[in-house]
C-alpha cells in the first residue's frame, strides 16, 4: 500500500495521547492504593491537556485523509452511523469520545469535583470512576484503530491479531515514555515508575512487532495472477494494464520505493523505536530531563518510520492486475 502521512500521523499521535492518558491514570490508581506518592491536581490537569493535544493533533491529521477538509463539517457526521459493521466508523465514534473523556478527566481534577460512591476513606472517587471509563474507551480506540487494518482479510500482512497487539503496545510505550519525560518536569519522584513501565512496554512491543515482522517475512499470498484472471497456466504475463499514464490503482496501492529503501526503513525503525529509547530511558532514570525528552522524540520519529513501513509492507491483491504498463 502507499503510505499516506495523514494516516501515519493520525495513528501515531493518538497512540501517544492514549498512552499518556493510561500513564496518568495508572499513576492515579497506584496512588489510590497507596503504592505511589499521590499528586496534586496540577499533575493530572497538565498531563490530560498534553494527552488531549496529541489526540487533537491526530484528529487534525485525520482531516487530511478526507476527500476534502470541508467533508469534516458537511459529511463526517455520517461516519458514526455504520458502527454495526465498520471498524472505521467505530474509530470515528471512539476518537471524540476519548477526547471528551480525557478533557473531563482533566476538568474534574482541575475543579476538584468529588462524589463519594464508596463509603470508605478513598479520595478522588469521581475521577477514579471517570478514569476507569476512559481507560476502557482508550483500549476500545486502540482495538478499533488496529482492526481497521486487521479486518481486511486479504491484506494478509495486516490480517492478524498481532496488528492489534502492536498498535496497543506501541501506543502505550510511546505514551509512557512521554510520561517519564513529563514527570521529570512535573513530579520527579515518579520518573523511576514511568521509566520502568516505558521500558517494559517498549520491550513487549519489540517482541510483538518483531513477531509480526517474522510472520510477514514468510507469508504466503493466497491470490495469484492465476486466481486473479482465472486461467490455469503456470506462465502468465501481463502485457497491458488498460492504460499507460497510471491510475488510482497504480498510485494508491504501490509504495513506489525500492526494496533497499524498504529494508533500510525497517532497520531505522527497529533502532529508533526500541534500543535507543530504552537506553536513553535507562540513563535518564534519575531524572535527566534532556535524556527523557530525547527518548520520547526519538521513539516518536521511529514510530513514524514504523507506521510507514507497516503500510508499505502490505501487499494488496489488486496489484496482481497492475504489473506492467
Amino acid at each position: 500500500m502507499h503510505p499516506t502521512f495523514s494516516v501515519i500521523f493520525l495513528t501515531t499521535l493518538i497512540g501517544v495521547g492514549q498512552g499518556l492518558f493510561l500513564a496518568l491514570f495508572t499513576q492515579q490508581s497506584y496512588s489510590a492504593a497507596n503504592l505511589l506518592p499521590s499528586q496534586g491536581s496540577d499533575f493530572y490537569v497538565t498531563g490530560s491537556l498534553l494527552a488531549l493535544a496529541f489526540l487533537v493533533g491526530g484528529l487534525i491529521a485525520a482531516v487530511g485523509h478526507l476527500g476534502k477538509p470541508s467533508y469534516m463539517f458537511t459529511r463526517a457526521w455520517r461516519g458514526i452511523t455504520q458502527w454495526r459493521t465498520s471498524w472505521l466508523s467505530r474509530e470515528l465514534i471512539l476518537m471524540p469520545l476519548v477526547m471528551g473523556l480525557v478533557f473531563l478527566y482533566g476538568a474534574f481534577h482541575y475543579f476538584g469535583w468529588e462524589i463519594r460512591f464508596l463509603d470508605y476513606n478513598l479520595a478522588n472517587q469521581l475521577t477514579l470512576l471517570l478514569g476507569t471509563i476512559t481507560t476502557a474507551a482508550v483500549f476500545g480506540l486502540f482495538i478499533a484503530t488496529a482492526m481497521i487494518y486487521a479486518s481486511i482479510k486479504f491484506l494478509q500482512e495486516w490480517a492478524c491479531a498481532l496488528t492489534v497487539v502492536n498498535y496497543t503496545l506501541l501506543g502505550g510505550a510511546s505514551g509512557f515514555t512521554l510520561a517519564a519525560a513529563y514527570a521529570a518536569y512535573a513530579a520527579p519522584e515518579l520518573v523511576g515508575f514511568y521509566v520502568g513501565w516505558a521500558i517494559i512496554l517498549t520491550i513487549a512491543a519489540l517482541i510483538s512487532r518483531g513477531g509480526s515482522l517474522i510472520r510477514n517475512a514468510r507469508i504466503k499470498h493466497k491470490s495469484t495472477v492465476q486466481t486473479a484472471i482465472g486461467v490455469r497456466h503456470p506462465q502468465i504475463q501481463q502485457k497491458s494494464m488498460g492504460m499507460m499514464g497510471g491510475s488510482y490503482n497504480t498510485r494508491e496501492y504501490f509504495h513506489g520505493a525500492t526494496a533497499a529503501f524498504l529494508k533500510s526503513v525497517k532497520w531505522i525503525f527497529l533502532v529508533l523505536v526500541f534500543p535507543v529509547p530504552v537506553l536513553l530511558l535507562w540513563l535518564g532514570m534519575d531524572g535527566g530531563k534532556g535524556l527523557l525528552v530525547a527518548a520520547f522524540v526519538i521513539q516518536y520519529i521511529g514510530l513514524v518510520f514504523e507506521r510507514w513501513f507497516f503500510f508499505a509492507q502490505a501487499n494488496h491483491p489488486q496489484n496482481l492486475y497492475y504489473q506492467t504498463v
Binding site: 500500500m1 485523509h65 478526507l66 476527500g67 476534502k68 467533508y71 459529511r75 463526517a76 455520517r78 461516519g79 458514526i80 452511523t81 455504520q82 459493521t85 465498520s86 471498524w87 472505521l88 466508523s89 470515528l92 481497521i148 479486518s151 481486511i152 482479510k153 486479504f154 491484506l155 493466497k222 491470490s223 495472477v225 486466481t227 486473479a228 484472471i229 482465472g230 486461467v231 497456466h233 506462465q235 502468465i236 504475463q237 501481463q238 502485457k239 497491458s240 494494464m241 488498460g242 492504460m243 499507460m244 499514464g245 497510471g246 491510475s247 488510482y248 490503482n249 494508491e252 496501492y253 494488496h316 491483491p317 489488486q318 496489484n319 492486475y321 497492475y322
Partner: protein
Amino acid sequence: MTQLALVIDLNVCVGCHACVTSCKQWNTSGQAGPMFDDNPYGKDPTGTFFNRVQTYEIGSYPNTETLHFPKSCLHCEDAPCVPVCPTGASHKRAEDGIVLVDYDKCIGCKYCSWACPYGAREFDEQQKVMKKCTLCVDRIYDQSLDERDRKPACVLACPTSARLYGDVHDPDSEVSVAIRERGGYQLMPEWGTKPANHYLPRRKTQINIHDDELTRVDNPLKKEDIRHETSKDVSLDDWLM
C-alpha cells in the same frame, strides 16, 4: 432475489476497448457529474474509469495465447467493500444486487477501495469521492429508452457480444445458461466475495478425427478391391473335380 450482473466471454473479447470508451462516455455525461480526467492530451494522462481492458500473454513463445481481460466492479454478492464504509455511502441494493456509492454521502476516506481485492474502485480526484461501475443503473431502468437499449453501455457497445447482461439468480436467464453451460467462473474465489459477474473461459474449437474414421477398413464399397491370393495348397475341390 434479483442479482444483475455481467458475464464476460473471454473467448470472443478482442480487446478493442469499445466498452471502456462507451462506459466513460455514458457515465461522464450523467447527472452524477463528470468522471475526472487529468492531463487527457498531455504527458502522463490519468483519469477515473469504471472499466478497463487488460491484456495478458499465456504460455511461452511460440506457444502463446493472448487474453484480453475486461475488468470492472463485479457486484459481489458478499461485497467486502460495503460493510467497511463508515458513512453508509457504499451500499448494495436489495432489489437488484447492484453495489453503488452515494456520492453525496461519501467522505472520500478510500477505505472501501482497500477492501476490494479486485481494485475495481477508483477515486475521483476532482469530486473527491469514490467511484465505481454502477451497471449503468441510470440507464437500465430508463423508461424513456427503447427496451433493447435498457442495458449497460458497455454491453451495447461490444462488437463481438462478449458481454452478456442479466439476472444471474434466474436459472433460465441468458447469463445463467451461459455460466452453466460454458464453464462460467468467478475471480479470486479464495476470498469468499462471491462476485456476481462471471467470466467464460477461452475455448479451442476442435474435434478429434482419427484416420480410421476417414477410411473405414470394412467399407463395403471397397469389397471388390480386396483381392486375396489364391492358395497353392490342395483343397477339397481338387479331390472332387
